[in-house]
C-alpha cells in the first residue's frame, strides 16, 4: 500500500509499504530517519518514542497503516519544533527541514541540555528520552522531580542511572520557558 503522512512538518510518501510494518520501520528504513531507535519492539523501553498527532507513542507498536494521513514528529524534528514554538503560533513557523525531514536548525534546548548535563552515555535511549522530555516541557514549563520521573517512566536507560537525565530536564526547564514551553493548544492530553 501507499502511505502518505507528515513527518517533521513535511509531507512524506512511501510506496509498497507492507501493512505489518511498524511506523518505526517506515521511519528508519524507508524514510532514512534512523533517530528513533529499535530496541525491544514491545512497547517496553520507549527508545522508539515519537509524537503522533502530538501525542507520545511507541512507534514500534503503531502499524504503518495507522499513520496514514497523520502528523509525526521524530527526534530529527525536535529543533524545528522548538523553533516553531519559540516563533509563536503565527509568525515564521516554516518548519524548515531537509530532504528527508532532517533538521537544519541548531539543536533544540532539550538536546543542548542533555549534552551540557552529560545525560548521554551509549545514546540508545536518548532520542526517545528527548522526545518525551520535550513533550513534558511543552505542557509543563517547570516540572517537579516527580513530574519528570513520571513523564520519563516509559523510557528505560541502562547506562546513566537516570540522575544526569533528570538533571538535563531540570536544566532545560531552568534555562527558561521561552524556547521550550509551547502553547496550550499543542499540549497532548486534556479533554
Amino acid at each position: 500500500m501507499r502511505l502518505t503522512f507528515r513527518v517533521n512538518g513535511r509531507q512524506q510518501q512511501a510506496d509498497d509499504v507492507w501493512e505489518g510494518e511498524s511506523l518505526l520501520y517506515v521511519l528508519r528504513e524507508r524514510l532514512g530517519l534512523p533517530g528513533s531507535k529499535n530496541a525491544c519492539e514491545q512497547g517496553e523501553c520507549g527508545s522508539c518514542t515519537v509524537r503522533l498527532d502530538g501525542l507520545l507513542v511507541c512507534s514500534c507498536l503503531v502499524a504503518a497503516g495507522q499513520a496514514q494521513g497523520r502528523d509525526v514528529v521524530t527526534v530529527e524534528g525536535l529543533a524545528s519544533q522548538a523553533k516553531k514554538r519559540a516563533d509563536g503560533r503565527s509568525g515564521g513557523a516554516d518548519g524548515r527541514t531537509g530532504k528527508a525531514g532532517t533538521d537544519l536548525q541548531p539543536l533544540s534546548p532539550i538536546q543542548q541540555a542533555f549534552i551540557d548535563a552529560g545525560a548521554v552515555q551509549c545514546g540508545f535511549c536518548t532520542p526517545g528520552m528527548l522526545v518525551a522530555a520535550d513533550e513534558l516541557l511543552e505542557r509543563n514549563a517547570s516540572p517537579t522531580d516527580a513530574d519528570i520521573r513520571e513523564a520519563l517512566s516509559g523510557n528505560l536507560c541502562r547506562c546513566t542511572g537516570y540522575q544526569t537525565i533528570l538533571a538535563a530536564v531540570r536544566l532545560a526547564a531552568a534555562r527558561g520557558t521561552a524556547d521550550t514551553a509551547g502553547t496550550a493548544d499543542t499540549a497532548g492530553t486534556g479533554g
Binding site: M1, W18, E19, G20, S22, E41, Q42, G43, G46, T49, L52, L55, L56, V57, C58, L61, V62, A63, G65, Q66, Q68, A132, R149, E150, A151, S153, G154, N155, G188, T189, G190, G191
Partner: protein
C-alpha cells in the same frame, strides 16, 4: 510476522461485516497489545480491521447523570477528562497507574478491556499453553506463576486479567455496549469476562465479530456529607511506576452514622477477571464501618483463594490492601 490484510472501514456496520465474515479477522484499535502479540507470533490474524477512527471517540454525560465513554477513546484522554477526575477519580487513578504515557496515548478503552494475559508461557510460542493452544497443557502451574491467579482458576489455566481499567469499572458498576452480526446488546462489565473452566482460550463472552462500542457508568455515588465521591483505586506492583499489578483494589464506600451505607469492592491481579467482592460487600452492608468488620468481610471473600507454590503472598497482600483502602475511605467520610 504472518502476512495479513488491513482495512479501515468508514462505519461500524462495515467493520462488523468485515470481521464477522472472516474467521481469522481481528479488530485493531491502538495496537499496543495486538501488534505486540502478532510480532511474538501469538496472534496470527489474516485480516485487521482498524476501528480506532470509528465514531466512538466521545465522552458524554448521559441523561441520568452517568457517563458514556466511546470504545475508541484513548486512555490518556479519559484519565485527564474533567468529568472523570471530578466524579470518578478511581477511574482516572486506574488508567494512570497502567503502562506508560506513550502506551496510554495509543491504547483505547475497548482494547484495554480486551488485552490478553501477560502469562509468560502464553507469550512464548515455543511453550505449551492451553489458552494459546487448547489441550497443550499449562506449564505455569508447575513453573512461573508468581503473578498468576489465586481465585477462580481451573486446572487448565491460572492466568490473570491485567487490565487496571477493568477493575475500576467493575467497582463502578459499568455496562459494556456491543454491536455485532446479530445486533446490539449490553452486558454488565463483570459479565464480559469468563473464568477459564475447561475453555481457557475464551477470555470473554464476546462472539466473533462483536465490537465494543462504548462503556457506560451510572451516576457516581456521593456521600451524605461531601460532594466528592468516596472512591479509590490502589495498585501494588514491583516498582513504583510502569508495571502490572501484583494486586490492586478499587473501592467505593459511603459511611453514614458510622455504619456502611454503600460499599463496592473489586480486586485486580487475583483472577482471570476483575474480581467483584460481592460476599465482602454483603457482609459489610449496614455494619459498623470498623477495621475489624473490614478484615472479617475481606477474609470471607478471600477464603475461596487457592494459592500455588509462589503466589500465596497475594492473599495477605489483597487482604491488607483492601482493609487499608476501606479504612482510609471510612476516615475521609
Amino acid at each position: 510476522m504472518k502476512t495479513f490484510r488491513y482495512e479501515r472501514p468508514a462505519d461500524p456496520a462495515a467493520a462488523v461485516t468485515l470481521v464477522a465474515g472472516t474467521p481469522g479477522a481481528r479488530y485493531l484499535a491502538g495496537g499496543t497489545n495486538l501488534v505486540d502479540l502478532m510480532k511474538l507470533g501469538v496472534e496470527t490474524p489474516e485480516l485487521l480491521v482498524d476501528v480506532s477512527r470509528l465514531p466512538f471517540g466521545e465522552v458524554e454525560e448521559t441523561d441520568t447523570g452517568g457517563l458514556r465513554i466511546g470504545a475508541a477513546v484513548r486512555g490518556s484522554r479519559l484519565a485527564a477528562h474533567l468529568l472523570v477526575r471530578e466524579r470518578y477519580p478511581a477511574l482516572s487513578q486506574a488508567l494512570l497507574s497502567g503502562a506508560s504515557a506513550q502506551l496510554r496515548n495509543a491504547a483505547t478503552i475497548g482494547g484495554n478491556l480486551l488485552q490478553r494475559t501477560r502469562c509468560l508461557y502464553f507469550q512464548d510460542v515455543s511453550k505449551p499453553c492451553n489458552k494459546r493452544r487448547p489441550g497443550s497443557g499449562c506449564p505455569a502451574r508447575e513453573g512461573a506463576h508468581r503473578d498468576l491467579a489465586v481465585l477462580g482458576a481451573s486446572e487448565h489455566c491460572i492466568a490473570t486479567n491485567t487490565s487496571d481499567l477493568a477493575v475500576a469499572l467493575a467497582a463502578l458498576d459499568a455496562t459494556v455496549h456491543l454491536t455485532g452480526p446479530a445486533g446490539v446488546r449490553s452486558l454488565p462489565l463483570t459479565d464480559l469476562y469468563r473464568l477459564p473452566g475447561d475453555e481457557p482460550e475464551r477470555d470473554t463472552v464476546l462472539r466473533h465479530g462483536e465490537l465494543i462500542t462504548s462503556v457506560e457508568l451510572p451516576p457516581p455515588p456521593h456521600s451524605a456529607r461531601s460532594r466528592a465521591p468516596l472512591m479509590v483505586y490502589r495498585k501494588v506492583r514491583d516498582r513504583a511506576s510502569y508495571a502490572f499489578a501484583l494486586v490492586s483494589v478499587a473501592a467505593v464506600l459511603d459511611v453514614r452514622d458510622a455504619a456502611v451505607h454503600e460499599v463496592r469492592l473489586a480486586f485486580g491481579g487475583l483472577a482471570a477477571r476483575p474480581w467483584r467482592a460481592r460476599e465482602a460487600e454483603q457482609a459489610l452492608q449496614g455494619r459498623p464501618a470498623t477495621e475489624e468488620a473490614f478484615v472479617e468481610a475481606v477474609r470471607t471473600e478471600l477464603s475461596a483463594c487457592r494459592p500455588l507454590r509462589e503466589n500465596g503472598y497475594k492473599l495477605a497482600l489483597a487482604e491488607r490492601l483492601a482493609v487499608a483502602v476501606l479504612a482510609d475511605l471510612a476516615g475521609q467520610g
